[in-house]
Every structure is written in structure tokens, then in C-alpha cells.
Symmetry: C2
Amino acid sequence: MLSQLSSLFFSKMNMVSTSDHASVVSMNMFVALLCGCIVIGHLLEENRWMNESITALLIGLSTGVVILLISGGKSSHLLVFSEDLFFIYLLPPIIFNAGFQVKKKQFFRNFITIIMFGALGTLVSFIIISLGAMAIFKKMDIGSLELGDYLAIGAIFAATDSVCTLQVLNQDETPLLYSLVFGEGVVNDATSVVLFNAIQNFDLTHIDHRIALQFGGNFLYLFFASTLLGAMTGLLSAYVIKKLYFGRHSTDREVALMMLMAYLSYMLAELFYLSGILTVFFCGIVMSHYTWHNVTESSRVTTKHAFATLSFVAEIFLFLYVGMDALDIEKWRFVSDSPGTSVAVSSILLGLLMVGRAAFVFPLSFLMNFSKKSHSEKVTFNQQASIVIWWAGLMRGAVSMALAYNQFTRSGHTQLRGNAIMITSTITVVLFSTMVFGLLTKPLILFLLPHPKHFTSASTVSDTGSPKSFSLPLLEGRQDSEGDLVNHDEETNHRPIARPGSLRMLLNAPTHTVHHYWRKFDDSFMRPVFGGRGFVPFVPGSPTEQSTAPLIERT
Amino acid sequence: MLSQLSSLFFSKMNMVSTSDHASVVSMNMFVALLCGCIVIGHLLEENRWMNESITALLIGLSTGVVILLISGGKSSHLLVFSEDLFFIYLLPPIIFNAGFQVKKKQFFRNFITIIMFGALGTLVSFIIISLGAMAIFKKMDIGSLELGDYLAIGAIFAATDSVCTLQVLNQDETPLLYSLVFGEGVVNDATSVVLFNAIQNFDLTHIDHRIALQFGGNFLYLFFASTLLGAMTGLLSAYVIKKLYFGRHSTDREVALMMLMAYLSYMLAELFYLSGILTVFFCGIVMSHYTWHNVTESSRVTTKHAFATLSFVAEIFLFLYVGMDALDIEKWRFVSDSPGTSVAVSSILLGLLMVGRAAFVFPLSFLMNFSKKSHSEKVTFNQQASIVIWWAGLMRGAVSMALAYNQFTRSGHTQLRGNAIMITSTITVVLFSTMVFGLLTKPLILFLLPHPKHFTSASTVSDTGSPKSFSLPLLEGRQDSEGDLVNHDEETNHRPIARPGSLRMLLNAPTHTVHHYWRKFDDSFMRPVFGGRGFVPFVPGSPTEQSTAPLIERT
């Protein structure tokens, strides 16, 4: 059986058969469009409104229109959005690169805040959207939707796409905001997918306490097992590369091994029915913390940029694809009878996701604000920043599309009226939020945070008390992967002892304590075994790291 | 039609559906095996006999055996060798990287020699193998083979695989040999594929002068049009990157654009029914000559190593795949009745390809030798080196496999006895030549060229006369892409005026004259327009190139 299926798997890989000339044409078109997106995105870089995602989306839409006209409006499919293409080829490089390039110190210092926004917030969003959809849609004439469908709608529209916002925010000027939005985005992606899978796998016809508990347990298991698997794969790559020290002979071997191990971590997660997104994200973090320091300078430059490039291309590919796919006629056929219903459903969903997001962003921000005020700090962060955080999560993107296709095209090809409406509504919401909200992002942020420099300095000035450990690390703009070891001792000295009894400390003390012990453990055991900055075997004739650092930072 | 086929194309891309767990298993296995090949290949690097190709082949074979045992010997397919996978995904990065990393000066100085070995030699090989197979196989009991089949056999077994030899030869110690074997390998690949396509497209039932002329014209058209297309795409990428100068903003954009343009050149060639191999090879050459100099330092390091890594992984993937595929039971079923015939056919083919190669390597070497003797040079090159060149082309690899599958599995799945025998014979020849000849390569070269240093110096000492331009550039070990401009003026001064009347000059003078005028044209027109070393727009604050050069060379 294995061999038969693997033959299936390989026969499926033949994307373009040499005899199939039309698919060569479309492939050429697609690659040329990708090049066009890069060039146009570069030309529009200084533009106030545009960014690469919207450019790709618009180009995709226009191409779709052109093809629709050429084919005489007959073609039912322009490009079929394949969720497998998305989950197997496009998402892994994007998420891995996110983990690989994340400023680890920022991420881990804010770990609890990020998890609260990402996981708890997504749950709140999911519940509000599901309940709202259930309450409103049941009164409307949109075909038969079951409980599982409503829950799926909640998971689908809880998946945010913060790419637009991240392209505008400056990592050095507003590091706290950036790390929050970024971290929330990753955790949110993972949470939505895990939620979605849990919904599909559970029998939801009769819910009781036991099943709800099982559901929660399953969710936690997926979360921790996936994280662990990613960390293990990353450590394995670090250990192998450190032990064998490939660099003396071949940069290519090191780079190849890092790429393959990263992909292996994702595939292993799929193998064990875990969340590949979380796994590959933590694999990226571990690889940048250990493995990256064990390889030669050329390998470091290469991996840093090669991973970023793959992620960049995958993102453009994705938006181009979503843009072209939106014009698939067959999906719109069912809706064309009652355009009013479709617009209503889309508007309701847009409203729900705005409410669902506001329902956790502002309370959580208030909580953070309150905990800070209890230490008589004057932080300018909350008013504008919480609006930015709220805004950053309003866009919906490819994850929502992929999940919607998975849920609503399984039973027949959108033949059911309810399914067809949900698919078109998802497309509408994705297009509208990405284009309208996305276009407004840059002006909005420039309006809310007009002097980011001022903003940063305002907070830095205020660190007169002991909670420096909270305000400073969150707002400092230090290049993390470059300064991990150098600044290490200095910072451990500054770290205050946790004072119980304050809500702020309740939120942050565990992170800091864990972080402190982790540092000790890292220095005394992990780094000597797995390598990492300062623990790389000495290579005679190898130039110092400093010669490479400016080369990397310059981009 | 276009849209329907493009939907087909994208639906085919879903290699692994999330529900199809068994294909996830096989994909995990494959990625893990790739990692294993890299690690084991590294550990065996100092070994006298092994190299990465043979390691991958052996690991593939053993895995095949294990899977065969697990499935109880029932499975008819382990992994189906898909020629599309090979020609669309694996071959382009390998050939592009070959062009990108080739020492351009060496390659172009020896252009005529390389073309003679690569194109003329392949033709000779093709004719001898076709005629030999026709003469011998017709007397044997191996089913019905037509004229087209015999010609295809000639093209299939004229395609050499010089990877094994190139892994052993040292580019710096024996640059002439290396560039000859390397250049011949690329030209040979292209020639075989072009020949093969020409055979399949022509009606060969009644041959006359007109068709033979058409065939030749078609061949030449493919050759020049493909080259031109590759050069144009490369120049376009250079022009775009120079004009827009991405580097100030993003390394990722530059790297992405180079990768996409390279792939686009290959796909464009497919679109126009040209030879993608030749196109992507010349695109690589042009990109390394112009585009590579227009990008930032980080982009240079990244592209250099990223392309090499992709090529490296593709090669290992290929050998692993060939190893696993060799155990497909169905193909062997037809042959198992008469194992004697199969062994006989394989032996005859092996003999034919050895004779076919000897038939042009030794005469051509003699010609080169003769032309040199007429200038009273004492070159130690010919005796041993021509054996090495002959040996380097004895291995058959993935190109032969892919072509054989294309020819002999089209009409029913190897149901015809003749087809089945040809497929299994191809596998046997590929395995035998790669394993046995491949294993012997390292010892043979060490035996024939025991003191490569000595070999080089012997020739360098002899350059007392005017033909320095022939002996020195062929044997010098200069890193070409680093020193293109610096050594340029010095060398043009040294170049002698061609003396007519000698066979050697007849071979080499055109190359040099062309090379000379090309240089002038390059400096006065091409480089100012398309960039290239020394003609990159000045960037304030950008460090000099010298800071990167050691970083690149160190690997």
C-alpha cells in the first residue's frame, strides 16, 4: 500500500508534462507575473498607500479579468485554489522564516503577552464570531448550515493576516508593537488551524462537558507537542552540524541540511497529526539560536537571505493567487440570484470580526495599562498602540481562504447554496479587508504614531523605577541575534526580583523568572552541546564574526 | 481552454493532500533520506572510492530493498520515475548552476574544442550506437523495435553523466581537463535531448535527403535560438536590476528576481519548443557575467551558494530516486523469463557506448595533439588526459533514464517485450556504469594523474613561444569571475596575432579573434548598459567588493 501511494504521490508531482503546452503557457505567465509584482512593488515602495501584497492582489485580479475576457467569460475556473499547495509549499517557508528572523529576546520576554493576545484572543474572537454567525445567519435564507459549519466560520474568520501591518511598522522604531503584532500573528495562525482541525475531527452533534474537556486537552496537546517537535528537530540540526562541522568542506552541505531539516520538521508534524505551523516556527527559532551560529559565514549570509527570499516569493505568489482565484465564475453562479444576501453575509462577517477583535484587544490593553499604572509609570503606549494592534488583525488572508475551501468544498463542489455563499463571502471579506483596510494601514499608522522616535524616547525616559525590565526590553531596538551574548551579562544584572502582589508582576514575573533560569541552563548545558553564539568550535584561519556582521545588517 | 488546463496544472500541484497520510509518510522518508545522504556523503568524503552520487544510489537501492521486503514483494511500483519531475524541477537548477559557476574565460577560450567534443562527439556516439544496436539487436529475439526506436537508443545512450568525474577532478589543479569534461557534459546533455526531440518529432518511416537536411537545420535552429533566448533573458535581468538598483532596499528582491528570471528562461524555452537546458545554461553564464555584479554583496554571496545548494540537493535527489526506482518489479517481470537476453542486451549497449565514445575522443585528442606538435610544444596532456576524458563520459545517469522512459513507456506501460527489455537494460547500464565505473574513477584518476601539480607546472614551463594564449589560459587556475576585469588588459596585450596555415590555429584562431572583438564590444557597449564588474553604479556607503571576495572564495 505504501508503495502504491508513494507512486501516486510522485505521479502527482508532474506539474507540467512536456506535451501539455497550455500548462507551460500558464506557468510562464505566472512566473512573469511574479517578476512583475516584484518590480512594480519596488517602484511603488515610496508610495504612501500601496504595499507588495496589495500590488500582487491587484495584478492577480487584473490578470483574472483579462483571462476571463479572452476565454469569453465561459471558463468556470481560472486557477483553482489548492489548499494543499498552500499548506505544503507556501506556508512552511513563510512561517519558518518568521521564526528564523524573529527577535528572540523580544519574543520570549513578551511571551505571555503574545500568548494572551494570540491564543486567548483568538479563542475570544472564535467564540464571538461563531455565536454571532449562529444567531444572525439562522434567521436568514442562506441554506442549511450545521453546528460544525458555524464553528468552522468562527475559526476561519479568527485567522488574521498581519502582513500588511508588519510591512508598515518599523521593527527598530516601535519594537514592542512590532513584536506584539508579529508574535500574535504567528500564534493566531497556529491557534486557528489547530482549532479548525479540532472542530473537523470531533463529533459535534452532541456536546457535553466531557467532549469540551477533550477538546481543550487536544488543543493543549497539539500546542505543546508541536512546539517540542520543532525544538527537537532544530536541536538535532544544530548538533549534527556542530559535531560534523561541514563548513571546512562545503557551504552547500550546511545550507542544504538546514533547509531539509526545516522542511522535515514540518513534514514530521504532519506525520504525527500535529500543527506544522507551530513546529516549523519553533524549529526556525531554535535554528537561528543554535544552528545558525555553528555554520560558516557564507552559510550564515546565505541562509539568512535565502530563507527570507523564499518567504518573500511565497507571499507574493499567495496574494497573486488569491487575486486570480477570486474571479472563479462557478462560485459566483449560485450567489448571482441573490446578490443582496451575499453582500449582507459579507458585511455581517466583517462586522463580527471587528467586534470579535475589539472584544479582546481593548480589555487586554486595559489590563496591561492598569498593571503599568499601578507602578506609576507614564506610558504613552496604550491609546494609539491598542488601536494599531486592533487594526493589524482586521485583515483576512490566505489562511482564511484555505480553511474556507477545506470546510465548504468537501461535500460536493460548492453545490449547496449555503456552501457557495460562505465561499464567496470569504473571498469578499478577504479582498475587502486586504484592499480597503490594507490601503488605509499606512496612513492610519502614520496618523496614530506620527513621531515614532518620540514615542520610543518617551518610554525610555520613564524608566526610573525598578520595572526597567518591562519597559526597556520591550521598547529597545537592539538587533537581537547579533547581540545575544554580548549584552547578556549586563542584562541579567539589571533584572529585578519579582515583587508579588501586583497584576503586572503576575503577568510578567513568570516570564522573567523562566527567562532567567533558561539563560543559566542555556549557558551551562545547551550551548556547550548544541553550539550557538560563542560556543562554536574554533576554526584556524576562520575570520572573526565581526567581519560578517556588518554585511548581514546592511540589508 | 487555457483556464481549464491551468486549473489542471494547479490541481496537479497538490503533491500531498492533508488527508493522504501515506504520502506524508513517504515524503518524510524521502526528506530524511536526503539528509542522511548529505551526512553520510560528508563522512565518506575522505574515502578513496566513494562519492556523493554513489552514496545516494546505494542508499536508494537499500531503501528500495527494505520497502520491497516490507510490502512482501508485491508492490509493482516503489517510486515511479517521472520524467516531468526530472525535466521541470531537478534538471533546471543543476544546469543553471553549471552555467552560473562555470569559469567563463576557460569555457569561451576552449569553446570550439568543447563544441567539438560535446556536439560532434555526441553525434558520432549517437550514430555508432544506433547502427550497432540496429545491426546486433535485429538478430536477437527482443521483440519489435522500429527505426525510431534504434535512433532513440542512440540518443539515450549518447547522453553522458560526468558528475562522478567532476567530483574527483580538481578545478584548480587541472583546469583544462576540468573545463573540457564539464563543458562537454553540458553540451552533450543538450545535444542528446535536442537529438532525441528531433527524432520523436520527425516522421522517420521514409528518409531522404530532404528530411535529413531538415533534421540538421532543425538541430542548428534549436541550438542557436536556445542560446539566444538564454542570453536575452539573462541580459534582461541584468538591465532591470541595474536600472532599478534594488539593493538599497532589499536583498531579497534581487535574489528573488534572479531566481525567477532564471526559471523563466527555462520555461520560455519550453514555451517556444526550444532546448531549456541550453537556454538556462547560457542564462546562467550571462547572469554571472552581468547581473551578479549589479547586486549587493549579500545578494552575491546568497545567490552563489543558494544556487549551488539547490543544484546539490537536486543531484542527490536524482541519484536517490534512480536507486529506488531501479527496483520496480513490473519492469522486471517481462525480463525474468529470459534473464540471459537482458544481460546480453545490457552488455552489448555497454560495449557500444565505450566504442562510440572512443571513436571520437581519441581521434579528436590526436588532432589536438598533432596541432600542438606542429608548434614543437611538449605537452604531457594527451596520453593520460584523453583516457580521463574518455572515462569521464562512460557513466550514464538520469538523462538517459528520463529519455528511455519517454521513448519506451509511451505505448502502453512497458507491455511490449521489446520496450520492457530496453527499460530494464537502461536501468542496468545506468546502475552498472555509475557504480562500477564511478567507483573506479577516483583511483583511475589518481593513477593517471598522480601529481597534478607537476602536470600543470610542466605545461606552464613550456610556454616559451608565442602560443602562450593557448597553453596558459587552458591550464591556469585563476578564479575567473573574480578576476575578469583586472586581468583583462594584461591578457589582450599578450594575445598573439593568429598565424594561418597551421591546424592548431585553424582550431583556435577563430575563438581568439572572436574573443578579442567580444571583449572590445563588451567594454564599450555591453557593460555600460547591462552592468558587470567595474560598471556597477556607485553606491555611497557601500563597502568595496574586496571585502566580499574572500568570503566567497573561502568555501
